[in-house]
Amino acid sequence: MSKRVIEIDPVTRVEGHGKVTIHLNEQNQVDEARLHIVEFRGFERFIRGRLLWEVPVIVQRLCGICPVSHHLAAAKAMDIIVGADRLTPTAEKMRRLMHYGQVMQSHVLHFFHLCSPDLLFGFDADPSQRNIFGVINAFPDLARQAVMMRKFGQEVIRVTAGKKIHGTGAIPGGINKSLSLTERDALLKDIDQMLSWSQGALKIARDYSLDNLELVQHFATFPSSHMSLVREDGALDLYHGNLRAIDAAGNPIFDQLDYQGYHQQLVEEVRAWSYMKFPFIKSRGHLDGWYRVGPLSRMNTAGFIDTPEAGNAHRELKALTQGQPNPMTLANHWARMIEVMHCVEKIRDLLHDDDLQGKDLVVKGERREEGVGVIEAPRGTLIHHYKVDANDQVRFCNLIVSTTHNNEGMNRAVAAVAKQYISGEPRVTEGMLNHVEVAIRAYDPCLSCATHALGQMPLEIELVDASGQLIDRREQNRR
């Protein structure tokens, strides 16, 4: 059988670009399907020589989509370096507030703007309807709620970070502002509305999963390990904790691992066909060591959720798989809305906590040369690792972003869907190719971030037949 490898010139792809190639054999069976993300590691070099307190502000420029996650992960690494092992309650809670605002608004954007067209109209519905404008026309109230929820999340970010995007709130050892009573009251005014809209969103995602259980159970479903931070008591904690990894059966691979030593457990592998690295768990070897991260993985690793509404929803999701790790790609949507609920409950609790009006903002301790900051970003575990010299200049930087952790998982999802929906079909339709995108979208990949370049997140699909002939190609700019 003749096969051809499509070469991609990375020079034209430095903007952050996702590409899927699907190879068909003579029987029109899918031979191989891969997601390629061209990784541009310029950032780790650029940051060298910069000053440690600049890093949390600079790293946000990595990604226009998830700047707050990078801001906080870098600040947490710098906390270690300036010897701030325990932040003041005001600093920690302000940062948590910022993070919950960010996760909430990111998940809402993803669910309503990017995914709801697929879920509401069907994966192969008419593309002229299957887009955000179709949603606005058919479900105007829902669209309006999404906009208002996102606005609320951005407002939380603004009052904690100073700006809606690219703020400066988190600084090494703490935070540069507390929450004024005016700022607090403005958010409190809307919190009940946010709670009830979050319940509504959660119900949509839950009902979708249960009403379409057959699809959800079989669409890009495959066993895998899962990893996330968890709190010391095993609860979901998006801001801080220790690393826990479980295998497909739910057995621990490692647990309560202090992330300062993440590199004892995680190794990054380079593969010839991709510029993006493939991290794996060392003890499981490079073939079996891959894992997934993100909302569904967090539901799988967490023992429980400590806020009432999200806690109940978590139990219901877990019951679907009798407490076993949930392997269904599409269940990510339900998981994501559980997290929105959790974030809004957490925001409510924090707004009632007067530590947020505290005056003690920064602590310092004994300087260290090296620090790791880890956070559960909307898309999953985000690792920032720095070494800083005695002059306060960065000498080393390594980042493992959520999308990189999910590299293997997304590739499996693409292959599974391609085999399921494209194999053997004499004619490949737009709807079939959209199935592939639906699978990728469920992981909410931040290609911009994974490629360490600011900008768009275009996705391109190429279909190649047995003779190496390109038979179809579609491209779309997601944002």
Partner: protein, 251 residues
């Protein structure tokens, strides 16, 4: 007692003491003339030319030009604003002024001048993108000359007030930059308490005090709520008129 000198700025009568520059007299009258290299407390140097005004039709630097009886000074005109915009733009292009990641953002006079002059877009000039090493050798001070605008304020402060001459110009023409009196800052007698190191001395983010970065939240920085020059204009009436003329021809 000396008789005051009377002259006009944009048709407004202004009084000056003998020996005062046009800038000093304007400041006292609550009229703002844009400036970067000049700052209160240091001898004027007349190098940035952002304070360019027209005196009886000829251009002059207001910070060094003495006030004289009956002269007619033009300051707030579109022609002069355009000259100033070009000068400020060139400064932006000669250095690495990445405001979003610079800790001087919000208190930076170059940035504030850009805003006040209505410069909001990249312009026709090429970016020179210097790649000078950052000098972080000193325990309390960092020098990032990629952000230097060669205003010389640190040079004058160190020489005339601190009596140290830690800083000086090196190189010529386009290569002229600020250097230190030694292999690096650590090898000089610079101290965090020097006037040359004070936050008000360096108008940009070239001289940095270690560990101070981003401690001031957005919203509490010098120029977050009022444009540069407001302290001089004070409560002078006609603020609305001022806004209008400054924004003329804004791109």
């Amino acid at each position: 007692m000396n008789t005051p000198i009377r002259f006009q700025i944009d048709g407004v009568e202004v009084l000056a003491e003998p020996g005062q520059s046009i800038m000093q007299a304007a400041d006292a009258a609550g009229i703002y003339i844009p400036r970067l290299c000049d700052v209160e407390g240091l001898e004027p140097q007349g190098s940035c030319r952002v304070c360019t005004v027209k005196v009886n039709g000829r251009t002059a630097a207001a910070c060094t030009q003495p006030a004289a009886a009956d002269i007619e000074v033009e300051n707030d005109t579109l022609e002069l604003t355009n000259y100033r915009r070009d000068l400020v733009r060139m400064l932006f292009h000669e250095g690495n002024h990445l405001c979003p990641i610079c800790e001087a953002s919000g208190r930076c006079e170059l940035q504030a001048m850009g805003y006040r002059l209505g410069i909001s877009q990249p312009t026709k000039y090429p970016y020179l993108q210097p790649a000078r090493p950052v000098d972080a050798s000193h325990p309390d001070i960092v020098l990032d000359t990629n952000r230097c605008i060669r205003c010389g304020r640190c040079i004058r402060a160190s020489r005339d007030i601190d009596g140290k001459s830690v800083f000086g110009y090196v190189g010529r023409g386009i290569d002229k930059k600020v250097g230190v009196n030694g292999d690096n800052l650590l090898a000089t007698d610079a101290s965090i308490d020097d006037c040359a190191i004070a936050l008000e001395t360096c108008p940009v983010g070239c001289i940095i005090q270690k560990g101070m970065g981003f401690y001031k939240p957005i919203g509490e920085r010098s120029f977050d709520h009022q444009p540069i020059g407001s302290n001089i204009e004070g409560n002078r009436s006609g603020a609305a008129h001022r806004e209008e003329t400054w924004r003329q021809g804004e791109e």
